[in-house]
């Protein structure tokens, strides 16, 4: 399929940007020998800058496993995953940690540190990016929280916030350092319809303005329309489900 950004031309020359995520021939199994159970079969997937890709599929189909593999949280032997152009297979733990710092994560559960305020839960991310000075870190944190509609909750502790507010803090945390890729695992699962919608729209706006590609795992039919592309995974096999232009 033609990539949406591939239509941008410079002097009538078609520029195809290199993919941020490039998975090919990926097989993955849990266990070994007789207990071996293959989860993923011959996965191939490419995600380009600025793309929002939704990954859907029934539970147990291998979605989460694929996400953990993409984030370098599991090691694999068969196939290839290239993240920002570097191969994950055989990469050492320390380099994996460095790669992970370029990814913004949004989890099903917000997992905020309940002893830190909203502001500090977000600002803590700059500990991973010590080159950003403290004033700028503070500024960007406040901007991000404001963008998430949390202007009045900078100094609130998580237990004083609603589920939607907490999830928005978590999204601010994922985006504040300007990641090169966002991986979101059912970001709306814990939210009601209205807040769920708000959250993904915020995500969409921010992703569009910063050209950050997003891979989102979801069951939620109500948010499928924000995707550029939907891929479906079933019994460990990936297939292109439908295509939608924005």
């Amino acid at each position: 399929m033609p990539h949406p950004l591939a239509t941008k031309t410079i002097a009538s020359e078609v520029i195809i940007p290199s993919p941020i995520v490039e998975v090919s021939g990926l097989n993955f199994s849990f266990g070994s020998d007789q207990l071996r159970q293959q989860i993923l079969f011959d996965i191939a997937l490419e995600i380009f800058p600025g793309e929002i890709v939704i990954l859907e599929g029934p539970s147990g189909s291998g979605k989460t496993t694929l996400l953990t593999l993409l984030s370098g949280l599991r090691t694999f032997q068969d196939g290839s995953i290239k993240l920002f152009g570097s191969e994950l297979r055989g990469t050492g733990q320390q380099d994996l940690v460095l790669l992970r710092r370029r990814i913004g994560y949004i989890f099903q559960h917000h997992n905020l540190l309940e002893f830190l305020t909203a502001r500090r839960n977000v600002e803590i991310m700059f500990e991973l990016h010590p080159k950003v000075d403290r004033r700028e870190a503070r500024l960007r944190t406040e901007e991000m929280l404001t963008a998430m509609g949390l202007k009045n909750h900078f100094d609130a502790f998580p237990n004083k916030m609603s589920g939607g507010q907490k999830q928005r803090v978590a999204i601010a945390r994922a985006l504040v350092t300007g990641p090169d890729l966002v991986l979101a695992d059912e970001p709306t699962a814990a939210l009601d319809k209205v807040t769920g919608r708000q959250v993904v729209e915020l995500l969409q706006t921010l992703a569009r303005s910063e050209a950050i590609p997003i891979l989102m795992v979801t069951h939620d039919n109500r948010i499928l329309d924000i995707a550029d592309r939907i891929v479906r995974i079933e019994d460990g096999r990936l297939s292109e489900a439908q295509s939608e232009s924005t």
């Binding site: 949280l73 992970r100 989890f107 002893f115 500990e127 403290r134």
Partner: protein, 388 residues
């Protein structure tokens, strides 16, 4: 950077102070342990110190003992004429002797007999600096009078109470009637449960068979300009291998070393302090461990988003160090209170030394850091792949 707003130290502090009650409980634990260790160490020093009271109070620059004497508290006798020859040495201002023997003291209340240490002193020479031993005290020069060590064990009878209330106190020592004419505080030791001080003349009356020619400790005072080491060398030369000649400092060191080696109190107190250290570690471990376990999903999240194990380790270690530092202050204050109580109760010279204070501070920090480093092992179980 480690003190910035989101450093592991700051995060550790936030985590610790978020649960106020829990932190206060932990701090109480640390404080009590600090107070306990510091008090026990001070008591230990006090016990050692108290047994050294007598040697310490000898007012001399060079000390002469028999070569067979291991500790000044249990000295072997030597002929007193040895000391007479020392006047010839240049730099020697005065020489005196102390005689020490065990006598039988009868507790007039129970009629039981207890061995007591008797010191025969030359009062003209002012040989010993102890409270209540005043060379000018006229009653001391009378026949059969003694000064009783009020820090002696209670089995000798209610001597101090009766003397203080003005009733006076007399009893039998070595079958001879003596009157208590004063009280002093010399301290008990492994060598003696109680002490008496008297003049050489009275000492001879108590031990008539010894003939008065024996001495146990020679005390040499020097002229202002002369060197202790030099005089000690000359004395050694003059007396030969029969004598053990030490400068005052050498004598104190030798006595301390002897006490440490021979007094079980050192080991017992040390053991109590170690147990307290261990209990403290368990308290801190429990607190920090619950902290880690309760936050395992969050720690796993931090790991997944790119924080290193070191950062998480730093958080918990920082909590440990903060606990030890904050708990130390109140513990120190408690220990001061406890030692004042202990001093009143035991009459021992219990004081908190600077070196013990720093030692216990270090112990408290290492206690908490050690506990934290055990608690932190649980963090390795925070599996980042599980957060999806």
């Amino acid at each position: 950077m480690i003190f910035s707003r989101n450093s592991f130290v700051a995060i550790g502090w936030s985590q610790l102070s978020h649960g106020k009650t829990r932190m206060i409980v932990a701090l109480c634990g640390v404080s009590v342990i600090v107070a306990m260790i510091l008090t026990v160490l001070s008591l230990k020093d006090a016990v050692i110190e108290s047994t050294l009271q007598v040697p310490k109070s000898l007012k001399g620059d060079v000390i002469v003992m028999s070569a067979r004497t291991q500790t000044i508290l249990r000295p072997a006798p030597f002929p007193r004429r040895f000391l007479d020859r020392l006047h010839g040495i240049d730099g020697v201002a005065a020489v005196s002797s102390v005689a020490i023997e065990n006598a039988r003291w009868i507790n007039p209340e129970t009629r039981q007999e207890h061995p007591i240490r008797v010191f025969g002193l030359d009062l003209e020479f002012d040989v010993i600096a102890l409270p209540g031993i005043d060379p000018g005290e006229p009653r001391l020069k009378m026949k059969d009078t003694i000064i009783f060590d009020a820090s002696s064990r209670p089995k000798f009878g209610p001597v101090a109470q009766r003397f203080k209330s003005g009733q006076g106190f007399s009893t039998e020592v070595n079958g001879r009637r003596v009157d208590v004419c004063g009280l002093t505080y010399a301290g008990v030791s492994i060598a003696a449960d109680g002490n008496l001080f008297t003049t050489h003349a009275n000492f001879q009356r108590l031990f008539p068979n010894l003939g008065g020619s024996r001495s146990h400790i020679g005390v040499i005072r020097l002229k202002a300009s002369s060197s202790q080491a030099e005089v000690a060398r000359q004395v050694r030369e003059m007396l030969g291998s029969e004598a053990r000649v030490l400068t005052r400092t050498e004598m104190m060191e030798a006595e301390k070393a002897f006490m440490k080696l021979n007094d079980p109190v050192d080991d017992i107190m040390g053991m109590i302090a170690s147990v307290a250290f261990f209990v403290g570690m368990i308290i801190v471990y429990q607190i920090l461990y619950t902290d880690v376990v309760n936050h395992l999903p969050q720690f796993a999240t931090l790991k997944a988003i790119g924080f290193t194990g070191f950062f998480l380790l730093g958080i918990i270690l920082a909590e440990g160090v903060i606990l030890s530092l904050l708990g130390f202050g109140p513990g120190l204050i408690m220990a001061h209170g406890l030692t004042i109580l202990a001093q009143h109760a035991t009459l021992l010279p219990v004081t908190i030394t600077l070196s013990n204070t720093f030692g216990v501070l270090l112990a408290a920090i290492s206690m908490c850091v050690f506990a934290a480093s055990i608690a932190v092992r649980k963090i390795t179980q925070a599996e980042p792949a599980s957060v999806f």
